[in-house]
Amino acid sequence: MNYVKAYVVDNIHVYRDVYHLILRTEIERLLPGHFIMIWIPEVEEVPMAPSLYRDGIMRITYKVVGETTGYMSRLDRGEKIYIRGPLGKPYKLNGYGRYLLIGGGVGVAPLIYSAHILSERGVEFTYVEGVPNSNYEMFIDEAISLGGEALLYTEDGSKGVKGYPTEYLKTNYRYYDYILACGPDEFNRAVYRLCREYGLNCQISFERIVKCGVGVCGSCVLEGTGLLVCLDGPVFNISTLYEYGYSP
């Protein structure tokens, strides 16, 4: 669990405060949902779930929210940072069935990585992205290019469907065998409630403050459940959440 070097290949501005950091690095098999710790010496170490990892090239899709992500946004090509991982439990992906990938914000990072894997395996999927308005659209084109169906939901209706992506779940859930979700806590709670109600097989990825990343400090607990996001998650099957008393 030592650090490996990661070289900045590119740092692409997507919109406002969101970037793709493209890294060249050699770590073990990292699957969709896995996270890594990005360490910038003398700044901080933060968890990120890559939006793609392939052939030694990793894409981190991140949003500037504070010091470390701010520092990340100023990284130049050729600069070096340090990562350790993969950590946590990834999404479990099968080679069959129909998948709904549903998320919002930069939370969609591990979903689009899942889309890549499903596409490779020739599995049918629908990708649903919820954002405030059309400026925030992220991976719709990428999902389409992967051969999936892709739908954008905007809060203000400036593009795609007006409303929240959970609306899609409500009306179309019968069509899917598996649901993969990832988003802000409120969104995750809504997805959990709906999927429990409909009895769906659903995996949700959560975020909490990850400090140690290896299950010892307790910082990343899913309150009330005793589950640790860094060790037991970040991806949880809703049946596990239920078993441990998750009650949104």
Binding site: N2, W39, K211, G215, V216, C217, G218, S219, L231, D232
Partner: protein, 303 residues
Amino acid sequence: MSGVSLEIELSGIKLRNPFILASGFIDDDPSLLSRAWKAGFGALTTKSLTPKPREGYKPPIIAFTKAGYLNAVGLSNPGVDSLPRLLSKLPRESKVIVSIAGSTVDDFRYGAEKSNLDNVDIIELNLSCPHVKSMGMDIIHDISYSLDIIDAVVSTSDKPVYIKLGLTDTYLSLVSKALDKGVSGFTIMNTIKALAIDTASLKPILSNVYGGLSGPAIHPIAVRMVYEVYREYQVPIIGVGGVMDWEDVVEFIAAGASAVGVGSYLFLKPVESVKDLINDLMKFLEDNGYGNVVDLRGVAHKK
């Protein structure tokens, strides 16, 4: 399952087995302690609680070395006032050791007062954290200051009081004096101040630079301290440090420990893995003809 009994007693407190969740591990939320209890521990130690909540250091707070782990969590904790909440999900029969930290005699007295709860069984004084200024090794290096703290706590609380020792030049003399003050037992040991430099970045890994070394590295040192304290005083001892498998457990108990703390074992493992330690100890006892874990205590001293 078998006729072997794992039950032990620590200062009059009956534990279903000798495995104790070490201080500092996964207990920020009541649900975590309750999960650990369900996992099978004989008792649970809280994080070291201070009068006020503490944020702790920013990540990296842990580092992996060849032979153990470094941590500089920085005594992050929700504050001792949160104790009733922390313990709220535990069943009646659970056993709880409250670890107290502080930087003044009053801090410790305050902690002891707040620990005067029905479901608290033992108070452990953390005098030996190696990575927080004025809250750890600074205390235990100063025996008379340590004794003042012990005095204050013992006179405040009716609970058995344990001292968490670190490796110091004078710990045996502290043990003797602490016993005179009415201390009931010792938790041996805390981490040792250490440093890891990353060879990729050539920088200290921990944001705090220094951290406490735990895991296999410190085990033989902990066994020595347990052995020495047992040899001199035959008091209740919780052996902590590098318990990774049944062999380490057996070593601690044979050296004189009544119970065994489990800490670094939990790196990258769910708390339920304590089951393996419990089962393997049971098997060792069975295979070696012990009916009772208590009979193993201190056997390494026998001629």
